[in-house]
Symmetry: C2
């Protein structure tokens, strides 16, 4: 299985510990300044994408000396750097799984743009390969079908987040069940939980986002 | 104009400074432990909502001594505490504006549930009264029509976030314009900007979320 990781520009304090410690396996694609962070952790990305406008000349030199495949993007272009990252990872490098870090938090227009990329017809077929990971959330995506998913050991909560209207949603064995429910508008069925180590669900149309999460410092 | 504020349970480090400093005007509704934070800032909420299960006896006593109208919610109920807060603020107290703090960040299933409350038919008519505010984003909502909005002095970016499909979206005078665009699926048109102090837009169907935002500590 070919795992690629993509680092985009969200707040560093939301990175999971394994990224902070440089312990994420697989090859990397870095967006803009993220490439400096990866190089700093001893990781040379396969591909660097960005306009690099905010980098000092010596920083840009460092990027050039560590990364062979640099794609200079044009600001005010049609695709964002993150969309370019998806294209490179999924269409060029044929990743079996793409884990995206730095996609959450900070500016919410960015987070929502990241979350909704899977609704673009060009990316929808790849949705099941994509995860977005931060220190308290793991976001995965599903196309219509029946699935059994496994609990992440450190996560307590399970949310079924319908990104679109959705027919025939059934939650078989979760703490809160549903039977053939018709989702009429986007809806976050939050704070559900696993009963045991797996959860089974199905749905007939639309795009489902499943979030496993945990509380951190919720009101210190 | 009757302004109400609602404090829900998101991370404190995302509160805007004026909330940290206790300088937000208007009456408050507090959710669960948020009431302790408000009391700590010298604010006695009009209404406290929550199951209060996580409060120590002396904390619950403090809440009872400062707040007359306490609504004990039942966990595993149909409405979340935040939904109850909206009902109390908008339907009982007839707020002309409801500013929600603590609605962003942390667990993303919670944030998305908060963001999408305006898609529930019972809350949609109130959408234009609702704002969600954190230290780098101000979220507002619009129903079909033509609008002119004003730039917040400290914000650089302007995003048009279509929560639903949408017809006839026109951005008249922003940095990136659109003419009679058909939004086919939810989409965050991020990183647009004001040209001057106001921006004019219109759309014919669906629910629009407008986010003014700024970068903070984006890659320190």
């Amino acid at each position: 299985m070919k795992i690629l990781n993509l680092l985009v520009g969200g707040p560093i304090d939301l990175w999971p510990d394994k990224l902070k410690n440089g312990q994420v396996k697989g090859d990397w694609i870095g967006i803009d300044r993220g490439n400096l962070h990866l190089i700093d952790k001893g990781i040379d990305p396969l591909v660097a994408i960005g306009d690099f406008d905010s980098l000092k000349p010596e920083e840009l030199q460092l990027v050039r000396s560590h990364i062979k495949d640099i794609r200079q993007s044009i600001p005010e272009k049609d695709d964002t750097d993150t969309q370019l990252g998806l294209k490179v990872a999924l269409q060029e490098h044929h990743a079996d799984r793409l884990d995206i870090y730095g996609a959450t938090g900070g500016r919410l227009d960015h987070f929502l743009a990241n979350l909704w990329m899977v609704l673009e017809p060009r990316f929808t077929p790849f949705a099941p390969k994509i995860r977005m990971i931060d220190k308290q959330n793991t976001i995965t995506f599903f196309l219509p079908g029946e699935y059994q998913i496994t609990k992440e050991p450190d996560k307590k909560y399970l949310a079924f987040v319908a990104l679109t209207p959705m027919e025939h949603l059934t939650l078989y064995d979760e703490k809160y069940k549903l039977d053939d429910y018709h989702v009429k508008y986007p809806m976050s069925l939050a704070s559900n939980e696993f009963v045991g180590n797996t959860a089974k669900f199905k749905f007939g149309s639309g795009v489902m986002c499943v979030i496993q999460s945990k509380d951190i410092d919720r009101f210190n």
